[in-house]
């Protein structure tokens, strides 16, 4: 029911068409998310396997607020652990990436294997028979705090919970298919990183990527230059938990000629500029690598991973929350080993679509800032409303102007946080 059927609870609508604004601003809520979500039964995206190809390669990443090292050991296995010494808790490394045989804490030189086992404690047996660790001290009991690691389609995931389901079940069939399509059928390679610090709650970005309704309304570049329109065909698919969404759009020829519909949709906004023409449209003329007709596909995996194809760009987006009011959007921009030099150059050209300066993305930073600023002082008990595309059942659609998959996100969020119904 879309109506406020349970007015006395924070979540008054059982179809999650009402979301309490508090969840975006409360420091307590943010702290509970660290334990219930990021240390809870989810697979957190860590990195790509291709970022740590050799034994000893490591990267530093984030699981919620937690700093995590991901290392490849001599036998090729991948390990992840908290970036904090078992002794006094010092950060083991500030480096973002590198290659090492051991992780050694700078403070007292406690040393860990690439698997996270404590292998060296200076002066463990004392000096000249004096001092040292007590007889019962056992290095095996003082390894780093480990995450359980799994990989799927070249993505490395970690979890801190024993209750996390197997990765394929966690991802669901649409994610499995899209990861195959985007990351497995061609071998990806990293063309670079883009970072954007958005002054908004990390869940606002989860809403944003599950919200194709805003696409052609906020991002006028696409509309101005006929790249996308409100009439565009597409739809959404969710997993059984409703937490992961795949939305996709297909641009058809007859629709790209329909300027009347477009003008109607923007009537009175002052934002429609039908006379705009690109001086150099080469960016919009790059052919799609994959001949499968999808113009945009956004795969959003709870809680912080997005695997996105926007036009002919391919990228991993990772959310790194920095408190209730700030999130870093970390983008790993991909090409493919099979790309010719011309195709790589085209991917640098089309990178203008995405990232902090991206023609089809830069306004998202501002939209999230505006929401966070707008809700900061809303009274307790007030809600955002999500009714576009229909209320009630949370289900897949064959249309894009919808907020149904956002309600899917919230239904799972509500469940995993163990909040009162």
């Amino acid at each position: 029911m879309a109506s406020d059927s349970r007015p006395d609870t924070p979540w008054p609508a059982d179809d999650f068409s009402r979301v309490p604004f508090d969840v975006f601003t409360s420091a307590d809520q943010y702290a509970r998310e660290q334990s219930h979500i990021f240390r809870g039964p989810v697979w957190n995206y860590l990195c790509l396997e291709i970022e740590i190809p050799q034994a000893g390669d490591f990267v530093r990443t984030w699981v919620g607020e937690l700093s995590v090292l991901v290392s490849r050991a001599e036998d090729g296995s991948i390990h992840a652990y908290e970036n904090s010494c078992a002794h006094r808790g010092a950060q083991l490394t500030s480096k973002l990436r590198g290659n090492t045989r051991r992780h050694t804490c700078a403070y007292h030189l406690w040393t860990y294997s690439l698997a996270g086992d404590l292998v060296g404690v200076p002066m463990e047996k004392g000096v000249n028979g004096k001092g040292g660790m007590p007889p019962h001290f056992d290095k095996r009991k003082h390894g780093l705090n480990r995450l359980r690691v799994t990989t799927f389609g070249g993505l490395v995931f970690g979890t801190l919970s024993n209750d996390t389901p197997p990765i394929e079940a966690f991802l669901g069939p649409h994610a499995v298919g899209q990861i195959q399509r985007l990351l497995v059928q061609r071998q990806p390679r990293v063309l670079g990183y883009l970072r954007q610090r958005i002054p908004g709650n990390w869940k606002l970005y989860n809403e944003n990527v599950r919200d194709p309704y805003h696409g052609s309304l906020l991002h006028l570049f696409q509309v101005s230059f006929r790249l996308q329109q409100p009439t565009m065909r597409g739809g959404i698919r969710m997993d059984a938990d409703l937490k992961n969404t795949w939305n996709h759009s297909i641009l058809t020829e007859e629709e790209s000629g329909n300027r009347k519909t477009l003008a109607d949709a923007y009537e009175g906004t002052g934002k429609f500029a039908p006379e705009m023409r690109m001086a150099d449209p080469s960016l919009t003329q790059v052919p799609l690598d994959l001949g499968d007709g999808y113009k945009t596909t956004i795969l959003s995996i709870f809680p912080t991973l997005v695997v996105a194809q926007v036009d002919n760009t391919y990228a991993i987006r990772h959310l790194r929350p920095k408190g209730p009011n700030l999130v870093e959007l970390h983008i790993t921009y991909l090409g493919f080993e099979s790309d010719t030099p011309e195709m790589t150059q085209d991917k640098l050209l089309t990178s203008n679509f995405i990232g902090p300066a991206g023609y089809i993305s830069l306004e998202d930073g501002e939209a999230l800032r505006l929401v966070q600023e707008g809700i900061r002082t809303r009274r307790p008990g007030q809600h955002e409303m999500l009714e576009m595309g229909g209320v009630g059942d949370i289900r897949d659609t064959d249309y894009l102007s919808q907020e149904i998959s956002i309600r899917g996100f919230w239904s799972f969020y509500h469940r995993i946080m163990g909040e009162a119904a």
Binding site: G192, L194, A279, D280, S351, A357, E363, G365, E366, R369
Partner: protein, 160 residues
């Protein structure tokens, strides 16, 4: 005055004009500071440069792309946070190449100030530009801005 010093003063004058033009939001005039061809403008993150990874934060590979980059700013169809920006160009160095062109290097710091008069640091980076002589001044044939502050605050809507 030595020729080296004279060249540096000319380059400084050009870069100060460049910065002032953008600070004053005269975006339609920005493409006029670039040569028709070759013409290249890039904003790059230090992280990618240090890793020899090619992806730019913002890039224009033709004069048309330079014009397109500011078209929505000129039209007012871009949704972004309007901040008053102050670009401070520093540590300017200029070097004459054998073909008559000039290589310019400088530091760039951009402060942002909101509608309520609250200021913060927005961008820290370095210009590396190839300039060609044009009348009494220069035109840019290639310019890269490598930013140390590649964790971009909110968005990068305007050129640096």
């Amino acid at each position: 005055m030595t020729p080296d010093l004279m060249l540096r003063l000319q380059v400084e004058t050009f870069l100060y004009e460049y910065a002032a033009l953008l600070d004053e939001e005269r975006f339609a005039e920005w493409p006029g500071l670039f040569a028709e061809s070759p013409c290249r403008y890039e904003v790059l993150s230090r992280e990618n440069v240090d890793l020899s990874l090619p992806v730019p934060i913002m890039s224009c590979y033709s004069h048309g792309m330079v014009r397109d980059r500011v078209a929505m700013l000129v039209q007012g169809t871009l949704t972004y946070r309007k901040m008053h920006l102050l670009r401070q160009v520093s540590n300017v160095r200029a070097e004459a190449a054998t073909d008559g062109s000039v290589i310019a290097r400088a530091g760039i710091t951009v402060f942002q100030s909101d509608e309520e008069g609250v200021s913060s640091l927005y961008i820290v980076g370095r210009y590396h530009a190839h300039l060609t002589r044009h009348q009494e001044s220069f035109r840019i044939t290639a310019m890269s801005v490598v930013v140390d502050s590649f964790g971009i605050d909110t968005m990068l809507a305007v050129p640096i």
